[in-house]
């Protein structure tokens, strides 16, 4: 589909906005509807969109597979890291109150990092699933 100029131009215009919107959903999750799950899916959708227009190989160059796989792991580690930080600061597991001298601020800080971890993992998992299914059985054809 990359020969179609309209698709190419529209994609190039839309993808940055999609990613920007994902960041909005991610960071506005504290105050309104949103959060890591939704943002992660939007980020993944933007990359999937790119892959649909420009081909799987181009998407793999932009977001390489090892990066995706480590994102899956990294997000979980960030999440668990928040929990363990709570432990180390003298609270229980996933205790946000102790993350900051002001407990309310601590709650904000905790949920911020937890949601960041969720966002990273969800976008990683979504992309990994997409790459695996899309790439299955045709690694050799496509994109020359």
């Amino acid at each position: 589909m990359k020969s179609d100029i309209i698709l190419r131009v529209v994609a190039k215009i839309l993808i940055p906005f999609a990613l920007m919107f994902a960041l909005y959903v991610q960071f506005h999750g504290d105050y309104g509807p949103g959060g890591g799950f939704q943002a992660g899916v939007v980020i993944a959708a933007a990359v999937v969109f790119y892959a649909v227009i420009f081909g799987l190989a181009a998407a793999r160059r932009a977001v390489p597979e090892p990066v995706v796989e480590s994102m899956v792991a990294l997000g979980v580690l960030v999440y668990a890291g928040v929990g363990i930080a709570g432990l180390l600061l003298g609270g229980n597991f996933l205790d946000y109150f102790v993350l900051d001298p002001d407990p309310v601020h601590g709650q904000h800080r905790g949920i911020f990092w937890v949601e960041a971890g969720v966002g990273i993992t969800v976008s990683g998992v979504m992309l990994k699933i997409f790459y695996i299914f899309a790439g299955r059985g045709r690694d050799f054809e496509e994109d020359s």
Binding site: S70, A73, G86, F93, D95, V98
Partner: protein, 493 residues
């Protein structure tokens, strides 16, 4: 600092280990991390069991949100025992895993195997320790999803269909469970087991709650392979990699059995379940059917691992039979059989895996003459088999005797008869192995295999030794099971 956090660390440490292994991207590092984690979880659950024996129930509030608002981890004599069984089995399986996994799984996938094993361990421990109905569902799915993949890693292509079948039935089971929990939540407004128990006191026989109980029974029944919901189990255990078969056979169904006990005895209470509702007779009939049908099916199998899988369905029947009595002694017998059968089946599957490594499979045609070619493994297998039958001096006898005594105490003589008669069927299927290993010539022209490497034989023998030791000196397990039963029946009411 750390000791008070053991309840949550048991589930979190393996959960953190899994992504670390994925980042490490190395089979050896993955194995080393998994080994260390298994050792750590075993040590932590042993210390927890020791602590709850002295101090009673430990409550741990996740995120310092007090229960019932936050998620509570609640450790008592029952789930500490289950956690110890799970983590000890993981620890025994780890030295064994290195050689076995190298032989059965491609180099580039090994690190993923260990990551999945850690996720499975985390899920099972989480199920055991959490005091929250929905958190339990999440851990149930974590362990199940990891299990499906682990089974699909088997060498035979039938592993794929087995994993698919388990995925369909397992997901159906988990969904039924969550429907049941939904009913309870709508009726009580809480997801915390202890809080739920307090609110259900006296009103447990209203219709939404009975329907919820039925859904939970069906859902968990699928996960624990309660006859006739066991269709997924034989294929899954047969075609999974050896380590996975051993680990799952010893732990996965046992954890689900614990969940059933928790819901029956702690949440609803023995009175509501067994006096006001006809669950006892239904469960007893299904269990007795499992004893006979599954054991009879085991006799005619052509593959040793498949025989063991059918035997598992039968042995689960003894455990559910103990639950169906609805009494403290029956529950204690069931809990003791959870532990003893877990250890026995773990040992037997480890030995079967050692045979599969040397012979390329566990079909009975390959096992002929095993008593001469792999004498140690064959002898240990016979010892484990005696425990399946329930011969005095083995672990299986101790818990079966407790079950018979509980049934006699309840005046249920037909259950006593069923237990004794079904043991004869166990004699028949264990004899299949004996006959094949000791009374048949090795296949002509086949190379003499010799014993499996010591890293695999040693853990298997250690488990077999535990089977005999717990048979000769059964009091520790029986005492722990009695305390577990008291904790299950006393918790929250």
């Amino acid at each position: 600092m750390p000791a008070e956090h053991f309840p949550v660390l048991l589930a979190v440490v393996p959960l953190v280990a899994a992504p670390l292994i994925v980042v490490a991207r190395s089979g050896f590092l993955g194995w080393a991390i998994a080994f260390a984690v298994a050792a750590a979880t075993a040590a932590m659950s042993a210390s927890l069991l020791a602590r709850v024996t002295v101090e009673g129930t430990i409550s741990y509030a996740i995120g310092s949100w007090p229960p019932p608002w936050g998620i509570e981890y609640r450790v008592d004599a029952a789930n500490a025992l289950v956690a110890l069984l799970v983590s000890a089995m993981a620890l025994v399986a780890m030295p064994y895993a290195r050689r076995s996994v190298t032989a059965e799984i491609g180099q580039e996938r090994q690190y993923l195997f260990y990551a999945l094993l850690m996720l499975c361990l985390s899920g099972l421990l989480g199920i055991a320790l959490t005091g929250d109905a929905f958190n339990l569902f999440v851990f149930l799915e974590i362990s199940s999803l990891a299990t499906y993949v682990l089974i699909a890693l088997g060498r035979d292509r039938r592993a794929l269909t087995a994993a698919y079948q388990y995925l369909i039935l397992g997901t159906t089971g988990a969904t039924l469970y969550i429907i049941g929990v939904g009913m309870l939540y709508l009726a009580t407004g809480t997801l915390n087991f202890a809080d739920m128990a307090a609110r259900l006191d006296g009103v447990a026989d209203t219709r939404p709650l009975v329907v919820g109980l039925a859904f939970i029974t069906a859902g968990i029944g699928l996960k624990l392979a309660l006859f006739p919901l066991h269709a997924w189990l034989p294929n899954a255990y047969t075609y999974a990699p050896s380590v996975v078969s051993a680990f799952l056979a010893a732990t996965a169904t046992k954890v689900s059995l614990y969940v059933l006990m928790r819901v029956y005895f702690s949440v609803f209470g023995a009175d509501a379940v067994f006096r006001d509702l006809p669950i006892g007779p239904v469960l007893a009939v299904l269990s007795v059917a499992a004893l006979f049908v599954a054991s009879a099916a085991a006799i005619v199998q052509k593959d040793l691992k498949r025989l063991l899988a059918f035997s598992s369905v039968g042995q689960i029947g003894y455990i559910t039979l103990g639950i169906s009595l609805g009494s403290a002694t029956g529950l204690a017998a069931a809990m003791a059989h959870v532990v003893n059968h877990g250890i026995t089946k773990g040992a037997l599957f480890l030995l079967a895996g050692a045979m599969a490594l040397r012979l390329g499979g566990t079909g009975f045609d390959r096992l002929a003459g095993l008593g001469r070619t792999m004498p140690v493994a064959a002898f240990a297998f016979v010892l484990g088999g005696l425990s399946l039958i329930g011969v005095p001096g083995t672990a299986g006898f101790a818990s079966k005797w407790a079950l018979v005594a509980a049934a006699m105490g309840a005046g249920q003589w037909w259950i006593v008869a069923a237990v004794l008669l079904s043991s004869l069927l166990a004699v028949a299927y264990v004899w299949r192995f004996v006959e094949c290993a000791y009374f048949r010539e090795p296949p002509a022209g086949a190379p003499s295999p010799g014993e499996a490497p010591w890293e695999m034989t040693a853990p298997a023998l250690a488990m077999t030794a535990a089977v005999v030791a717990l048979g000769l000196h059964a009091t520790p397990v029986l005492d722990a099971a009695t305390r577990a039963a008291a904790a299950l029946m006393g918790a929250g009411r």
